[in-house]
């Protein structure tokens, strides 16, 4: 009776991790199919910290501007001041669990930061970097 209970509890507690594993692996497969080669967490980290200059307004932009470079800490929207929950899944288990959410933020934030959509390679690299934090 006790072992069953422990087993069921363990199974239930691992659901968030399954959710994340599912969403990330689904997307990684998608990006590979779109031409991304082996994704690199190092490349993802470098891209995260890279500074881009906006073509129209000339201001400096990077992921760290809102999310900071320490992804276990909360960030802050550079313009509105709104608090942003930490990106690191180990600290914030809701991160990287929904494909739709991940895709939405890739569209918005790549376009705003890089001035264009991220390539499949870049998205794969970002996921490789973020998923183990």
């Amino acid at each position: 009776m006790n072992r069953k209970l422990i087993g069921v509890t363990a199974l239930l507690l691992s659901i968030p991790f399954y959710a994340q594993a599912d969403a990330v692996s689904d997307l990684e497969a998608e990006y590979q199919a779109q031409g991304g080669t082996n994704s690199s967490a190092t490349a993802g980290e470098a891209l995260w910290n890279k500074e881009f200059i906006d073509a129209k307004k000339g201001d400096k932009r990077s992921c760290t501007k809102c999310h900071t470079a320490d992804l276990k800490k909360p960030g802050k929207h550079a313009r509105t001041g709104k608090a942003i929950e930490p990106m690191a899944p180990t600290v914030n288990p809701k991160r990287l669990t929904e494909v739709k959410q991940i895709k939405k933020w890739f569209v918005r934030n790549c376009k705003w930061t890089l001035g264009r959509e991220c390539t499949a390679q870049e998205k794969g690299d970002f996921l490789a970097y973020l998923k183990n934090l």
Partner: protein
């Protein structure tokens, strides 16, 4: 045998009851006529947002402004330009844009039976469609006693666009003066 005056008073009574009932039976979940009249339960200044999709998509970067704070024509403009949303990219998949826009238009200030909605609407020029609530004449008048020290130069505030920073009950749709707490300054004293 009914006299003329008793028929007349029946007609009057029925008319009064009918008239009151349309106010009493309102479809928007606002505390009803009788709750407000007899229980002292006040409706907030603007209809609070209950739509989870709206809260998620329009509240993750800034205060989730209630649709009842601008006319439908303003919201249409906002929702048709999400790639450049006040300098940010707020793009969404088309079905989400449609669902959220529908919600906003349905709850826009034009036909909202809430005090702030009505005041904002009557303060606008005929087809004025400001993109910012803070550009409506009603808003400007209501905030015209604020100093720069309290807002723009206040590191804890920064802008009148950050409703929730000072209006402690803003997310419930209430912007009453008595609920204001300006960070670094305290309650609003007239």
């Amino acid at each position: 045998m009914k006299s003329k005056s008793s028929v007349a008073s029946m007609v009057l009574l029925s008319a009064a009851l009918l008239g009151m009932s349309s106010a009493a039976f309102s479809a928007d979940n606002k505390p009803g006529f009788f709750s407000r009249m007899f229980d002292g339960e006040k409706a907030p200044g603007v209809a609070p947002v209950k739509n989870p999709q709206y809260l998620e998509e329009c509240g993750s970067c800034h205060f989730p402004y209630q649709p009842g704070l601008l006319p439908a024509r303003s919201w249409k403009k906002v929702m048709s330009g999400l790639e450049d949303h006040f300098g940010e990219n707020a793009e969404l998949p088309p079905e989400d844009v449609k669902n959220i826009t529908d919600y906003m238009l349905k709850n826009a200030a034009d036909h909202a039976d809430y005090k702030r909605s009505k005041r904002i609407m009557s303060s606008l020029r005929a087809d004025g469609a400001p993109l910012r609530i803070s550009e409506t004449p009603y808003f400007i008048e209501k905030h015209n006693e604020l100093s720069r020290a309290m807002v723009q130069d206040n590191p804890k505030v920064g802008s009148v666009s950050r409703c929730g920073t000072c209006h402690t009950m803003a997310e419930t749709g209430s912007f009453s003066e008595s609920e204001i707490q300006i960070p670094g300054f305290g309650a609003w004293e007239d």
